[in-house]
Amino acid sequence: MRAEVELFAHRTSLLHRWDARWKIVSLAALTGACVSLQQVSVAALGAVLAVGLLMFGRLSARVLMTRLAAAQVLLLPCLLVLPFTFRADPWQLGPVTISGEGFRVAALLYLRALAALALAMAVVYSTPMVTLLRALQTLRLPRLLVEISLLTYRYLFSLWWELTRMRWALATRGFGSPAAQARIRPLASVIGVSLVRSVERTERIHQAMRCRGFAGRLHTLQRFATRPADWIKACACAVVIVGLLWLDRGRGS
């Protein structure tokens, strides 16, 4: 498994050049605003703006579409049910009754989720993970959580590689039986072996890191500096938030 998110993290764009601390705070606030919208039209505007921002990041369209499509597979089935379960504002379409209210709620939930997903992707795909963690550390995320996240992100790939290698080994030796019972036991052994090996390796890595002076605090060569452009982007973000909320409340009353 490659860190797909890291593939684009070193490009340059408006989004990439934005100081990570400002980017996290501004887009988190925008996400909060987007998921609290109550009007479908305003939520649609929020989703369009969020996806538009993502397009600014000079990311690969194919990768973005794959990620967005994967999220649709999870979201849509639940939302397709809603027009049939609500009662208010019924529309008769032949033999079936569809609730206008249910349709509205489903559209609202879908647009809010899309906006939140696009904004999260905008942050994650435009910032290297180490810079992201360092920024979160500067934003007062507890040191312990940053340290465990950093170690987890490091071990993720070695654990996944270990699992993949052993599943290949099983498959080449004829353990690929389609019966679930026959597959689950060897798989559980593979998981067990990977865990035992990883725990041992990890403890050695951690001891080595401590020998070299690691005391839990993440140090990087990255120096955060706020430039005027960061301020301007954050202010633009604040204007969008206030605008969305104002439109939302204004239409509602």
Partner: protein
């Protein structure tokens, strides 16, 4: 299995963050420096579990592994779960950033229930590791599913069918999760029983 962004009202996801922060703080109390690598490995395992898919006709389910986290890490699972969920949301798009608090609370409480059950078994757990592990994991999935259903149920009349569907969707997960965790616990009991005692070197 994970609540997505946009479904819950701001006071609910806000309260979720408060509850998750309290749980995480409790999970971190008294943590020794040498425990962190193990927590990180099991967080990575929790993350990878969501990439392991099983075909259970007519659907396909992925593992959750919070039951195993509870059994191995005990209270420290509360540190692994928020990080695992945040990475899943960031790298895979499972769940969401605003619902991170609510999801952490659901998974954290259910992992603790599974862990408490496993510890209650005492000596029986080491004699019958498969059944103890399977029961703890099954219980953890059941509690997580019920809490998720309760969350959806509380959203109003129109969501009740979705809530029932969500509970039903947890049954194949429960079966696969119980089997895999049971066999994994049995394996660990044979190979490295020290991992299951919840104590670190």
């Amino acid at each position: 299995m994970h609540l997505s962004d946009g479904i819950l009202a701001p006071p609910v996801w806000g309260a979720g963050f408060v509850a998750a922060a309290a749980l995480t703080a409790w999970g971190a109390t008294g943590l020794r420096e040498e425990e962190t690598p193990r927590v990180a490995v099991f967080t990575a395992a929790f993350f990878c579990a969501s990439l392991l898919h099983f075909k259970v006709p007519p659907t396909s389910v992925h593992l959750l592994f919070h039951g195993l986290l509870g059994v191995v890490l005990g209270r420290r699972a509360l540190l692994a779960i928020p990080i695992g969920l945040a990475l899943q949301a960031a790298l895979l798009g499972h769940g969401g950033m605003t619902t991170l608090g609510v999801n952490t609370t659901l998974f954290g409480l259910s992992a603790l229930t599974g862990a408490a059950f496993y510890r209650c078994l005492g000596g029986a757990a080491s004699r019958r590791p498969f059944w103890a592990g399977a029961a703890a994991a099954g219980l953890a999935v059941l509690v997580a599913g019920s809490l998720l259903t309760a969350c959806l149920w509380s959203l109003g009349e129109g969501f009740k069918l979705v809530a029932q569907y969500a509970l039903l969707a947890h049954l194949p997960v429960l079966a696969v999760e119980a089997l895999v965790t049971g066999f994994t616990v049995e394996f660990l009991q044979r190979v490295q029983p020290a991992l299951l005692t919840g104590r670190t070197p």
